[in-house]
Amino acid sequence: MSMFHASQVSASSAKSTTPATASLMRWVVIATLPGVLAMTYYFGLGVLSNIALATIMGALLEAGMLRLRNRPIAPALTDTSALLTGVLLGASLPPASPWWLIGVGMIAAVVIAKQLYGGLGHNPFNPAMAGYALLLVSFPTYMTLWAPPQPLISDTLWAQILGTLPTSQLDALSGATPLDAFKHKAEGLSAEQFWLSAPLPEQTLAAWYSISLAWLAGGVLLLFKRIISWHIPIALLGSLVALATLFHLLDPNCFASPLFHLLTGAALFGAFFIATDPVSAATSQRGKLLYGMGIGVLIIVIRNLGGYPDAVAFAVLLMNLCVPLIDLYTVPRPQGHSKGAPGALR
């Protein structure tokens, strides 16, 4: 995935634009550091092993596919877009995921969602989220295995990564994310009773809050460096909070508060690091606002009414599908042209 590909609009020479792409891409990778470090602090080295495996496999797959397609390998690898896809997918997966799970996800992301569609700049779907969605649909047992916060190096780390941990022990490790726990709380239980019953291991909520805020810090860095524009994240988070508030006011026992939606799932991570991928997002400013709003609305609709506790991946992929339509209807009017003038796409 290329986060920063705007400089490649002319697409005349991949070489001349690579340094710019790579330098922006480096900033994005730097901006993921707070989030990644916070996750590592709470969930252990499994987070780093995910990212390491995903980036290595991503680079290998990218090189292999480019070779098959008879394309130059070096420029595509040095623009670090495969590295970023690896970081984002690695950070999305449950810590210490087995190597084969990461491999299947990266194949779906790099080989299918990116290279089969024509490579960097041509992918209609966000590669990391395509990989994530395929894994979530295919291997629900592994994908919902979020262990509660744990020490840096857990006893079962190696066995988990190598995939040799027996299923029985695997089940013992699993815990629920806060979104998951609230979604599946006993029916008839009011929200207050639910929280009083201490449904989650200690620290879990604090861990998720801190991680979300760390992603926010990285996102603010990206905004500050003008690497992303504000349109998508603000539209996404604004519509998410608005719709979550509406649901919460209608039935506070059934639908969690907007703050809970904002801080316990992947909302902030998605808003700043996933939805802003310029290749698969809308292009004009109005288009970006619509695109971001669509994602925010879909996240809440799926979380509150659908079957999955979190929904960033599905929401982003569904809005990726709408991007051609959004772009068609939000072509900026050139200065001096009146509405409906010839040349204005209607």
Binding site: I112, V137, S138, P140
Partner: protein, 233 residues
């Protein structure tokens, strides 16, 4: 190449209903989860295709043009009903498993398409052969897709073949990978994905063939002269 050969080649390869015409995709994608499901539906579709093409060709001079489509649909529906009853009689468990997709063969546009485009204008022999070849072409892709999805999704092949072939096939199941499940290939998206890959594979084979034919065809040596337009042979 005789007309018969051309029809055979069209149905099986160059105008394959599933890979080239992309007709009848609904049952193709919905049912192709295992070999036995695919084979059941493939046989039923083949039966309907041959029967409908033959019957349409037989009545082609009697049916007024204005009502030809309703008439053809009625003929197809009659054959589908036969297929459904036969399946209920001889392969009841499979009949239950395939459920709505057996009656839905009526809506398989490959069948109506061939009836209207070919059988209604051709003598009986050719129409029947066309129905047979189109049916085999469709069915073989269906079975191939079913096999690939079963293999990739559950790690088995030929599981539950007894549903169709009776007790003789009770232990035909090949388990290639134990304790394996990849839900993506079991669920509908996997069908789209594998079907897309098969179409891509066919196109690659066609391109390679065309390239080979081009390079092996002896390019006649031509004489180049100055001040002529074009090449003189």
């Amino acid at each position: 190449m005789s007309q018969w050969q051309a029809l055979t080649r069209d149905g099986l390869w160059s105008n394959n209903p599933a890979l080239v015409q992309l007709l009848g995709l609904c049952p193709l994608l919905a049912v192709s989860t295992t070999v036995v499901n695919s084979l059941g539906l493939a046989i039923a579709t083949l039966f309907v295709m041959v029967g409908a093409s033959t019957a349409v060709s037989l009545v082609r001079h009697r049916v007024p043009n204005a009502v030809r489509l309703p008439a053809f649909v009625m003929i197809i529906a009659a054959f589908v009903t036969c297929a459904e009853l036969l399946m209920a009689a001889y392969a009841y468990p499979l009949y239950q498993l395939l459920g709505i997709f057996i009656p839905l063969i009526v809506t398989n546009c490959a069948i109506l398409g061939r009836a209207d485009a070919f059988a209604s204008r051709q003598p009986v022999g050719l129409a029947a052969l066309d129905g047979l070849m189109m049916g085999v072409g469709f069915g073989s892709v269906l079975v191939l897709l079913g096999g690939l999805r079963e293999l990739l999704g559950q790690g088995t092949l030929f599981s539950d073949m007894a549903l169709l072939l009776g007790p003789i096939a009770a232990n035909w199941q090949l388990t290639l990978v134990d304790d394996y499940q990849f839900l993506f290939f079991v669920l509908p998206p996997g069908a789209f994905f594998v079907a897309g890959m098969l179409i891509a594979l066919k196109n690659v084979i066609d391109q390679r063939r065309a390239a080979r034919a081009l390079s092996s065809a002896a390019t006649p040596r031509t004489e180049r002269r100055v001040r002529v337009t074009g090449i003189i042979k």
